[in-house]
Amino acid sequence: MDKLKAFILTLGVSGTTLAIYSYFILGNIPLTALGIGALVTSASLAQTPRESPYREAAIAALQAYAVNIARLMEELSARPPSTYLPEGILLVPLGGSAKPTLRPEPDRLIWKDTNGHFLVLSTPSYGVEKSSNLESSLEYVLVDTLGLCDGVRVVERDTLILVELEGVRSLGEPARFRQVLGSLQAHVAASVAAASLNSPVTVEGIESRGKSLILRLARGEGLA
């Protein structure tokens, strides 16, 4: 039994014993309430999940995904900035830094429009609904589901969106992935933002401040 479980059990048993003894034997109400408080605290601790094994598996899958994407981008000389579309598509410029003008045809890996060639990748939707609240969606995916950071704050001003990710943990992404798409947290955040806002999103800049990451996202117009 690990230390936390032992502590929870000890607290629960102590609280129950104190509450019962204080109420029935001593007739002391404050001590009874204290025992009940200890019992409630131990129940709360018992109900709080620690690290879910599914979360670790999801992060391992994301890390493998980052390695594969980095190899593809290295091979094709991909460059930033990338454009995230709300339907879960990522367009990465190849050999240039232009923004796409046309929506890619389905199932294409390389897409050519008037502004150049783009690598077409699929990004997971994470179950985010279109036109939902951006901060709630980011918190749901990045904090609650994947545990990639401890907190999210969003500030929107016209087409500029500032996203602050607090308590970001390093996931060891390949250098090419970081260069083109930023960290995995930035990549997931941009993908969720595009889906939540129901409009294309471009990552304009990423700034690291201690354990926080500040993303500058630009909201674009829909592609033809």
Binding site: I29, L34, V40, T41, S44, L45, Q47, T48, P49, D150
Partner: protein
């Protein structure tokens, strides 16, 4: 555990300790008064911090049930039922 879960599970017993000490110093002898405040504090912290739970928050449900029973008994006592 997430940071907010750690904060919740640390602040909750601190609130409880202060509340029990305060009510005891006032000479409060009714158990339902203590339970009502413990329930309200749990609900207040839960609403502010939204700690992660495995499924439903059974502690909150149990506290609310006890709270409503205590309130119903008090009302019955006042009405002489």
């Amino acid at each position: 555990m997430l940071k907010k879960d750690i904060i919740f599970n640390s602040v909750l017993p601190a609130f409880y300790s202060v509340t029990v000490a305060f009510l005891a110093s006032l000479g409060e002898k009714r158990l339902d008064a203590y339970l009502s405040l413990l329930t309200l504090e749990y609900l207040f912290l839960y609403t502010i911090l939204r700690p992660k739970r495995r499924k439903h928050d059974l502690v909150l449900i149990a506290l609310l049930v006890v709270f409503f029973i205590a309130v119903a008994l008090r009302i019955a006592e006042v009405l002489g039922i």
